[in-house]
């Protein structure tokens, strides 16, 4: 295989990797973010303490988080088939990715929102805010830089998971590195795919840092 073939192959892999990563990140935030907020709000020191519910939610999230992705992927085959139409392939893998990532997102969001000074929340309460207003107008905006930083980390983590997609017939850079590189003893293909992955991770991290810094007004 010549470079004229490797480059389009890797570019296609790049596209597939993004095709798995971006929707997965988005969907895991859609599920994980409300849960993360719920974890903070219902905590014993939260604005609506529900200790029993909070503890149960925490246990459930930890349970999901402790299953390694590659195992979860296999365990979820029947469910994935039922929901995505098929159990394997680049598109189907989005489902297990989301299931694996949303508990992680919940914990990340929880951590970010906890960083908001308690005094600021109390000020908002003293200003006659409803709980929803505190969440939407104080907690999330005040934690925004930290949330975005967390999103970049989540995205890189999901990107890492997509490399295991080849185990479920998915595509992407990870699959290329293994099936077209390692398995065929084509080190040039493997390294090109790996370098593309590194490049992508750097890009996400750099972009994440930039945006975070730009939106952070906590320091002068």
């Amino acid at each position: 295989m010549s470079w004229e073939k490797i480059v389009p192959l890797v570019l296609e892999g790049l596209g597939e990797t993004l095709y798995m990563t971006l929707p997965s990140t988005l969907l895991s935030y859609l599920v994980g973010m409300p849960l993360g907020i719920l974890l903070v709000v219902t905590a014993p020191d939260g604005i609506r303490p529900r200790p029993a519910f909070n503890a149960a939610l925490g246990v459930a999230i930890n349970f999901l988080r402790s299953i390694p992705f590659i195992i979860l992927l296999a365990m979820l085959f029947p469910v994935t088939r039922a929901i995505m139409g098929r159990a394997i392939g680049t598109q189907a893998i989005i489902f297990p990715l989301v299931i694996s990532a949303f508990p992680y997102v919940a914990r990340m969001v929880e951590g970010s929102i906890r960083e908001v000074d308690r005094g600021v929340i109390e000020a908002a309460q003293s200003l006659a805010s409803s709980d929803l207003q505190i969440i939407g107008k104080v907690m999330i905006p005040e934690a925004l830089p930290s949330l975005l930083n967390g999103a970049a980390i989540v995205m890189v983590t999901i990107l890492g998971y997509t490399a295991m997609a080849s185990a479920a017939g998915g595509g992407g850079l990870g699959a290329i590195a293994i099936t077209k590189g390692l398995n065929l003893r084509r080190m040039d293909v493997m390294y090109t795919a790996a370098i593309a992955l590194v490049f992508l991770v750097q890009l996400i991290t750099l972009f994440g840092n930039r945006v975070t810094k730009k939106l952070d007004h906590r320091k002068r």
Partner: protein, 336 residues
């Protein structure tokens, strides 16, 4: 000043407890704040003052007692009523607690935003408020770019946005340097006079009370140990806590001289300067110090001094006038 009760606290108790410990923060507090006054609650740290002020707008929930706002019990209100009352109670904090991701103007606008005020009204109101606190030129700055005093001004403007009847001040000047403290106190006094907003403040600094409060309650160990007009409480404090706060050592305070004398009270508000030698120089009256009990705290003087009363009435008047102009409190003491 109107005589109607704005806030009435009746038998308020609050116990913090966990598995091992039980801490009684408030133990049957009762006091009344009248409309239009500046009421101060003073106490050492741990006296329960923060808990008390937080119970008033229900940031803390007491175990027992009532908090009446215009006769209605805040503790029994449902959610909607509570939010309505909170709009009528602005609150400012020791650590300011501003929204760090919002500009100064956006901080002040917050209460208007959540009560869904029309945009134009809100714009105008924000401008007015920034003008009142003297921060019109900082509208687009972020809190992190401001000094402590400026941050507290934003806090005040934000608390005033919902047109409250009362401003609750939780150690509002305790994180500020003496100069800035003066400026913030002057602003609070101005707000009280010009806008007719009642002020309830808590502090551990007697000087703050002396400077702007009309009435005071001294809190110690979760109990009100003294209450009344500031001058009265100040000049004839009986409680241990009061004496500690005024910097009077208990064993000396009772000691009254057997000749006509003047008791001079240093409350930390007068600048540190050689008052007595200047008194002698400027009035030409020789000063005979009978006893003195002074403490220096953070560069301020606290305590009492008893000097012999000048024999002639003219000299006496000159001495009293000089001391009062220097910001000190003077009272004649006479054993007979």
């Amino acid at each position: 000043m109107s005589e109607s009760k704005l806030i009435e606290i009746i038998g308020l108790s609050k116990v913090f407890s966990d598995a091992e410990n039980k801490v009684v923060a408030l133990n049957g507090i009762s006091l009344t704040v009248y409309e239009g006054e500046i009421y101060g609650i003073v106490g050492m740290s741990g006296a329960g003052k923060s808990t008390l002020i937080r119970c008033i707008n229900r940031l803390d929930i007491p175990n027992e007692g009532q908090v009446l706002y215009r006769g209605r019990d805040v503790l029994k209100m449902n959610r909607r009523e509570l939010l309505g009352v909170r709009r009528k109670m602005g609150m400012i904090f020791q650590q300011f607690n501003l929204f760090m991701q919002r500009t100064v103007a956006e901080n002040v606008r917050y209460p208007l935003e959540i009560s869904k005020s029309p945009r134009k009204d809100a714009d105008r109101r924000v401008r007015e408020l920034l003008d009142i606190v003297g921060l019109s030129d900082k509208a687009t700055a972020y809190p992190a770019q401001l000094s402590g005093g400026q941050r507290q001004r934003v806090g005040i403007a934000r608390a005033l946005a919902s047109e409250p009847d009362v401003l609750l001040c939780d150690e509002a000047t305790s994180a500020l340097d003496p100069m800035t403290t003066q400026a913030i106190l002057a602003l609070l006094q101005d707000i009280n006079r010009r806008l007719g907003i009642t002020i309830l403040l808590i502090t551990h600094e007697m000087a703050v009370i002396r400077q702007i409060c009309s009435r005071v309650a001294i809190l110690d160990g979760g109990v009100v140990v003294e209450e009344g007009d500031v001058d009265e409480v100040f000049l004839s404090t009986r409680s241990e806590a009061g004496k500690r706060l005024f910097g009077v050592l208990p064993e000396r305070a009772a000691e009254d001289p057997d000749v006509p004398a003047l008791r001079i009270v240093f409350d930390g508000s007068s600048a540190e300067k050689p008052i007595i030698s200047r008194l002698a120089q400027e009035t030409g009256v020789p000063v005979n110090i009978l006893s003195a009990n002074m403490n220096h705290l953070r560069g301020k003087m606290y305590g009492q001094m008893i000097i012999q009363k000048p024999l002639s009435e003219d000299e006496n008047k000159a001495v009293v006038r000089f001391l009062e102009e220097a910001g000190l409190t003077v009272r004649e003491v006479n054993k007979t």
